[in-house]
Symmetry: C2
Subunit: 172 residues, 2 copies
């Protein structure tokens, strides 16, 4: 079965008016999930990424196997209070509310080519905050990679794409 | 550098009196992280696991690449409100407070050999809740795998080990 057939649409989750794209059923099917990871791996390889940044928590599920396949570092970006200090913090807005994200300030990212990885590109708030955190650590953000890009929400327009590209397996 | 040398100890985090073992610096070093994943992969292979269960969020970082390597399903166990319904929920106590965990009720785990994967075995509350969720979906929990087991906290004694084993890369 193609991985796209395993995607589940959940109306009004996690908030009224939001159509949630549930990628978890894909992860329960090892062959479908390999298809996803193979596709993402090919996209990332072309970027020459030296590290992946992933926002908690679904981003971890995708970025962790990709960092393993590419033998590059994985840097988790977390919600407030989850990481021991010293940390850097960025506030951002997302499709359903405001939030903050943190990164360990000691992560050696200076001068490294970094790609931000998440499951879905919606309004772009989460990955923009990730990119800002990477830039504050003097990383070179060269791309944003997603399983699914939700075109109507315009997230792509909010990303700084002068020196970075957007890669999506599926555009809806 | 051996992966154990990259572990960072953080006193009084996330609560007073807790000595936090930070595994994130290991993930920033691809060779050290491969060493960890190679060791975990060997442990898991011997169990004949057909799916991995991982609690949010650090568990995802470890279980996701292992499920990819073993070509088996990955089932995320999440904090309340993160998963669309229908869900199953379990309450549990942990080293620093009480919590609840949820699993998607539609995950096809019946009759499957399942291993619960997390970064650290402390008091055992989190992984016991994961195991109960798997059992409620009629899975056969055959093991618990950790990077680090904190012996003094006695988590091993709380797990039902009549038909499951504990696997830890490092016992402290």
């Amino acid at each position: 079965m193609a991985w796209t057939e395993l995607l589940r649409e959940v109306p009004d989750f996690p908030a009224p008016g939001v159509l949630f794209r549930d990628v978890l059923p894909v992860m329960s099917d090892p062959d479908a999930w390999h298809e996803v990871l193979d596709g993402m791996e090919a996209l990332l390889k072309a970027t020459g990424a030296e590290a992946l940044l992933a926002p908690e928590a679904r981003g971890f599920l995708i970025a962790a196997p990709l960092a393993d396949r590419l033998t590059i570092g994985l840097v988790p970006v977390r919600k407030p209070g989850k990481l021991p200090r010293p940390i850097l913090r960025e506030a951002y807005s997302l499709e359903y509310g405001d939030n903050q994200l943190e990164i360990e300030a000691t992560v050696p990212l200076a001068g490294k080519r970094v790609v931000v990885v998440d499951d879905v590109l919606a309004t772009g708030g989460t990955v923009t905050a990730c990119a800002r955190l990477a830039q504050r650590l003097s990383a070179d953000v060269v791309g944003y990679a997603f399983l699914i890009e939700l075109k109507a929400l315009g997230g792509r327009d909010k990303l700084d794409l002068r020196t970075a590209e957007v890669m999506s397996l599926l555009v809806l």
